[in-house]
Amino acid sequence: MITKRIIPCLDVKDGKVVKGINFVGLREVGDPASLAKQYYEQGADELVFLDITATHEHRETMVHIVEKVAEQVFMPFTVGGGIRTPEEIRAVLRAGADKVSLNSAAVRDPDLIARSASLFGSQCIVLAVDGRMRPEKDGWNVVINGGRIDTGLDAIEWIREGVKKGAGEILLTSMDADGTKNGFDLPFLKAVRKEVHVPVIASGGCGSLEHFAEVFEQDAADAALAASLFHYGELTVGDVKKYLREKGIPVRL
């Protein structure tokens, strides 16, 4: 049986892993390759690296990080953050990444999804969507630039279009839940899941073991992503998986 995946997320800035609360108040927490190895040994199913560096020189740094990680961990990992062109995708895939996630760049240029999927295959194109509930509470809008810009696009429609263009997986971050530790945004996840047939990764809001169990018990996601919870040692990946297995949720242990 396919298992539910637990994915630690590492935000990388200037070559170091950082994690902010609601994307502000960044704080350095460690070296990407050694953290990756630590998670690999804990039994993480995948890793996501989000490059939150803006400058070109540091993009090259990211490629070197990917190379270093790929030599040490034998599990899949995704690289995202600021990727704009098929050439940049090729560079991180060649360095050893398995997938790339596209976010703002895909919103600005939706054909980037189609071009990349046809060049590298849908399996390595993850559409990352940050969504926030509209003031009218009648749905969610896509926000970009770390939540600073509301695009006015309906998140569900955008995801449907992204999958049509070739995205093989959705990484859904709820900006309403992110940083709250009150649990994943189940209504948002379920609304997405109803619309698309590709795997959905839940992100934002996880604060406890129960939150992981809840998102899977309610069949709201195929995988769950968390960052600070793992980085600050509140929980290990092993703790989460043991708990999920006790709850009867299929996991790789």
Binding site: F74, M75, R94, D98, G121, E169, V200
Partner: protein
């Protein structure tokens, strides 16, 4: 020396990294002369079946592999490389494969998400020397939308269930081996499968 067949597709670096981690020397090449000197060959693959087969045939690597396999050289196909071992695929119309294994490659029809992305348990179909080398419940990492069908049951060493679909996970026929999953991304059990191919197969 293990030859990783480079036909311009796929993440060859990961396979190379995994072989290095198990202490095996390897060379990435599209040159039949270089690959001919290798003891074993690995055919990786990512992308669409027809694109991959076209790149292989454009480089005449199909003819090369057929010669090497009939001369007894061990060949391991990974993911799309495994699918290419079959007679044909239905991805983007019918495309001919290498035909080392009987069967075709077809789209997975299920209520579960497609592609299948994630770790699935390998279940044994036949006794296989690998069984005693792996964990009691080995999990391996799959990323695919298509899988083998109408295959010879004798070739199927281990499978994984995806909904109702019995996904051909690990196939072995003579000196040809294939994995639909990615052993190079399947942690310790994956590395053990590569070790088996490198040292025993």
């Amino acid at each position: 020396m293990i030859g990783i067949i480079d036909y311009g597709m796929g993440n060859l670096r990961s396979v190379e990294n995994a072989l290095k981690a198990i202490g095996r020397e390897c060379v990435i090449s599209d040159d039949p002369a270089v690959l001919h000197d290798c003891d074993k060959l690995i055919l990786p693959g990512v992308g669409a079946f027809n694109d991959c087969m076209k790149n292989v045939t454009d480089r005449k690597l199909d003819v090369f592999m057929k010669e090497e396999v009939s001369a007894g050289k061990p060949l391991l196909g990974i993911c799309l490389g495994m699918q290419m071992l079959y007679e044909y695929s239905e991805e983007n119309g019918i495309s001919k494969g290498l035909g080392f294994l009987k069967g075709r490659v077809t789209k997975m029809i299920t209520d579960l998400p497609v592609p299948e992305i994630g770790w699935n348990e390998l279940e044994w179909n036949h006794e296989c020397p690998l069984r005693s080398l792996l964990s009691e419940h080995p999990y391996v990492y799959y990323v695919h939308s298509y899988c083998a069908a109408d295959y010879d049951d004798a070739d199927l060493a281990a499978y994984s269930m995806y909904g109702d679909i019995r996904v051909c996970g690990l196939v072995v026929r003579g000196n040809v081996m294939g994995t639909q999953f990615h052993p190079e991304k399947s942690a310790q059990d994956g590395l053990k499968i590569l070790t088996y191919f490198a040292e025993v197969f």
